[in-house]
Symmetry: none
């Protein structure tokens, strides 16, 4: 009946939130339901968050910070652009298999409307924009990338493919779409996806691999 909220239970709350928001979207999610999932009362959510939106934002941040950290770390590990990209692709695929709901939340905010979307875009894409743009710029300088490429846009295309990759493993519409192109087997053959995407990206950079 009465249990002080430990960190563990706060995490339960967030996880329940992430699951519900991932499944039903922001508008469709019900706080009562989230509370039930987490084995808590409705009121307690409001002890920690001002309103539904604030709680949703926290769920989003909790979800994506981790991913973003992993990604930027992985992207900067090697000096070779190709190596960096490969690491990102590998990580993304592995991550998507294990964190479907986080990617679905990502998709949820990407499809959102209003100020929240703008704010979150800035918060979430800011760092990756810098990281990827830098990656391309360096590649150009070292002759690993065609000299006429616009770093910002090439980085943008990379990121676009990465986002779609994530959604394609996690969100229903995108999964079905990938299945349509490649058949169900693609979800079991991570190496193929990795290999082909790397070919595509390497070619785009102008590196003849």
């Amino acid at each position: 009946m009465y249990r002080k909220l430990s960190d563990d239970r706060l995490n339960d709350m967030l996880r329940a939130g992430i699951d519900e928001f991932a499944e039903k979207g922001f508008a469709g999610a019900s706080l009562a339901n989230i509370a039930k999932r987490a084995g808590l009362s409705v009121g307690v959510i409001y002890k920690y968050y001002e309103e539904k939106e604030s709680f949703f934002l926290e769920c989003v941040r909790y979800s994506l910070n981790d991913l973003n950290n992993v990604l930027t770390e992985v992207a900067g590990k090697s000096d070779s652009l190709e190596e960096s990209l490969r690491s990102v692709v590998k990580t993304l695929i592995a991550y998507s298999h294990e964190n479907r709901n986080i990617n679905r939340i990502y998709n949820e905010i990407a499809s959102g409307r209003g100020e929240m979307s703008v704010m979150l875009a800035r918060e979430i894409e800011d760092i990756s924009a810098l990281v990827y743009t830098d990656l391309v710029r360096k590649a150009k300088e070292s002759g690993m990338c065609r000299s006429d490429a616009d770093p910002a846009l090439f980085a943008f295309f990379f990121d676009s493919l990465f986002m779609m990759l994530q959604f394609s493993y996690s969100c229903e519409y995108y999964r079905e779409r990938l299945k349509l192109y490649c058949g169900e087997e693609i979800f079991e053959d991570d190496e193929k996806m990795e290999r082909e995407l790397m070919r595509f990206l390497s070619g785009a950079l102008g590196v003849t691999g």
Copy 2:
């Protein structure tokens, strides 16, 4: 379920629906409001559609069929893959400037959950999957594409970039993200986007342009 759209009122209804769904998303849209926008009564919507969801589906179909037709037509016009791709890119950019709401609806369904998403994915992406895959296959045969490319996945990457392109002109999160990469100016400089995307795609194909 599927019905000849002969009636004028049906058209009004669908257009009002598309606008409302694009602006507020599926959950946020109100049937009463749609009826008002269309100058009709709520009852008439229920005469044609069983429930909100069925009506939404019809709005989606109505929106995307047209786009799909344009795209597949444009993609098949030329024998040259590059030419075909350029036409698609050009068309997509132009279309996105003029049909923001259709792209937003597209994003709305792509972020949807449940059976609806699966069904729609099949309906909408089916043809483009074939068209793009075919495009790549032919390119391979005629030596215009690297021989080791998997046609299905390469087609999938193309389509992914195209979807993101559409969203990036139409949906708030994606717009903000593009702005973050390239600055506000990119929305005025369609040629730059076209040029760079073509470079990226051509490179990916292994065509040294």
Copy 3:
């Protein structure tokens, strides 16, 4: 289950509202309960009124307009101030016996806070302020009232006594208070109340009755 709202049923709504607001006050009243009392659904209240407050305001207006009309009519009937006052007193006592809830609503708004109170005060007291002030002014001119009286304040004192009279028949606290002064019997002896109040008022005016 479904019945078009006739004027009768709209009146039911208002009456249920007046009863609930009178019994529990604005804050304590529950729209769900009002709907139940009226045999209607919650939603229908919102078809007619924007929010709880608007509905409350309508209940207030519905309650007090009638009273106000009666009062101003009665007050202006005779040329003799004393006669006018007596009519008002008589009417008020009779009215209070039959319309307890209306007086309780009156008390509810008089004890309200915020803009609403200010607005309602202006709306409700405006006319009686004029009427009573005029009454005193005329009385002064015709020598029926002491010459040194300030008409506005004397009118204000009249109205104050009238308001208290109303509350004293209708609202629990004020009833108990009157009982404390005069015993339970006073509620049965309207003539006594009328006689004494007239004595009090006449004396105040300086008319030796």
Copy 4:
């Protein structure tokens, strides 16, 4: 139920309660807020009082006892009825300027419902009923009051005017109403109010001043 108010914390609690109840009314007041205002925990309120209502009652008593004492003392100071009344009026006006919240609490309970109101009425008005009635009775005996006046009712009218006076300086609706009769200036011109009310009361008593 009734408890020595020796404790400092109890005083803080009550004062915070009075302010909150005066500002927001019984229903609108929040115990959590009161606790915060008083620098205490909610729990401590429940240590002293069974529920919100009991605490409210105590706040009311605490507020009005003082006022009642002052009033009965002042009313009994002189042998002359007029003098006594003048003192009461003066005190009331001065008190109202400085203790708005106490008058607002007074109005809050007067507009209350249920047993609470009855109980409080008895507690609060009991003494003043006796005092005022006595005042009038003595005045009658000494020929200072018309011989046909009913002491209880005349006392009741006095008290009614006094209550209204208090509310008119403290509660929004009544303030606005007074303004409507007399203009904003009345709140600055205490002497005028005193003079006119004394004229009114003296006249009512039948004393030709």
